[in-house]
């Protein structure tokens, strides 16, 4: 099946990186004398990491999608510059800075990271949604109106149906970036795959750094592969 095959390279990459993150492999590679991170705890962290990434990306995706639809409606066109500017600002502020700014307001834990992921994730989805909706041929829209569909039906049954693969592609990019970015949350006290990286940096234990990095990248490629397989191929 074609859609299944699209995800295979990313899946293989994820597997390879997961092997690299295994305690024995990482310790052997780094020639480390210090103890590696146990596999069971790494797996726990991976689950937390995935949950945190989703908690940040899902609201961002929803917001980006809704904003993208609003600014392409006749009534919302005026909002387009404001939405573009807001998304650009959100993208200009690096996640680590958002985390550092959010800790004083929300305290240590999950909240600063979720906020950073949300701000970071809106832009790719917004851009993909607007691009995809604008790529719908005007004739198609006119034809749908001509057969008597209401604006809402045109949006749901024609425009979004045609735009959907591109929108999902934007969501995939946002999710992959979010999984890689979530590691930063460890600096604000959230349990993520960044935790071994931070511990490793503090104790100069490079084995932990390698494990955390490889496991995060493995999770990001796994998310990429799963979404590539879930989304119908465009062509």
């Amino acid at each position: 099946m074609k859609r299944f095959r699209r995800g295979v390279p990313a899946l293989l990459l994820a597997l390879g990186l997961a092997v690299l993150a295994m305690p024995e492999v990482a310790a052997w590679l780094m020639g480390g004398t210090q103890g590696p991170y146990p596999a069971a705890r790494l797996l726990d962290l991976a689950l937390d990491h995935a949950a945190l990434s989703l908690a940040g990306v899902l609201p961002a995706g929803l917001l980006g999608l809704v904003l993208g639809v609003v600014v392409t409606r006749p009534g919302g066109r005026g909002l387009r510059p404001a939405a573009d500017a807001a998304a650009a600002v959100a993208q200009a502020v690096p996640p680590i800075v958002v985390v550092a700014l959010a800790v004083p307001a929300f305290g240590f834990g999950w909240a600063p990271t979720i906020l950073a992921l949300m701000l970071y994730g809106i832009m790719p989805v917004l851009r993909a949604t607007v691009g995809a909706l604008e790529a719908v041929p005007p004739e198609t829209r006119l034809a749908a109106e001509a057969v008597g569909l209401s604006p809402r039906q045109v949006l749901q049954e024609v425009e979004l149906a045609l735009a959907w693969p591109l929108v999902l592609d934007g969501l995939r990019v946002a999710l992959v970036l979010a999984v890689a970015t979530t590691a930063v949350g460890a600096l604000a006290g959230a349990a993520t795959l960044g935790t071994p990286i931070v511990i490793g940096l503090q104790n100069q234990n490079q084995v932990l750094v390698l494990q955390g990095a490889a496991a995060t990248a493995a999770l990001a490629f796994l998310a990429d592969a799963l979404l590539l397989m879930a989304v119908p191929a465009r062509d």
Partner: protein, 360 residues
Amino acid sequence: MILALIAIAALLLPLPFLGVAPNRLLPGEGVSALDAAGFWVAVPVVLLALGAWRRLPGWAGAAAAALGVVAVLGLAGAAANDRLADLAPAARASFGAGFWVAIVAGLSLVAMRGAWMGLAVAVGAAVLWAMGGLDRLSLVVEATARADALQSAIWTHLALAGAALALALLVAVPLAWAGFRRPRLGAVMGAALSGVQVVPAIALFALLIPLLAALLRAVPALRDLGLGAVGWLPAVLATAAYLALPLWRSLSGGLASADPAAVQAAEAMGMTEGRILAEVRLPLALPVFAGGLRVAVVQAIGLVTLGGLVGAGGLGAVVFEGLSQFATDLMLLGALPILLLALAADTLARAAENRLARPA
């Protein structure tokens, strides 16, 4: 408008507006805006409400909102002066959640109504600071105490970002040209550079240390050049690795954007490959490249922050010192300048880009 409502609610509800603590280590006791400032709260509330009033023209609304934001800051400063008057000098007054919500919602309102009024907020804050109205706020106390270190951190930060940008350009320009001439090679480069983006940034910064240490052990001559496994080198290398993608992508896109008909016409006129590049391809590629350069500059300022983890200094070092000591003022002192630098770079680059995009 919803933003003004949020800001006003943050001022009127019993949210901690200011935290008053006996010293900088103990957690503060929250004081709401109403308790801290009494009926003076009405000033920012009225100004913010005016800022959202649709009947007012955009500039007047933006000005009212800007004054409202300055008033929130002024109230916090005055309340801190007031509350700390009878306490020991070690006592601290820090901003609470209510303050942050009011300020962020107020600034967003300013940005919606007329972004250039943001300058008025900066001027207002500077006047308040100069008049001593903010002197007892913990953030200002900390900034004054560390003024020299902070200033040198800002310069280090900019120098690191500039070095990373230069290095990334040095790599991306020849790669883009090679990829343009041989598209198959270009596809491989694209995949490799995109792959880098998936590596978490903190991990790349951290992993460079053992790699560089191994390299320096193998080639000790490099050490004599002043290169070290810890410090600016891993920070610049790691940042440049992330910047390479936007630069490479925009350069490749720009080179490919030349209309084949225009290139053929130039060839038919007998232009050499070099002249076609200089007179046809590059002028057409410039606007596309400018967009990539803007993204790279902004990302450089942000990413260099992580250099604080590997001993490169800069504003990141201030942020991480704050995070490790749970000292919120230090986190803000590092993060706020990064935020302002990134936004300023974005605005300037956007203006330059618009000028380039306009047909001459």
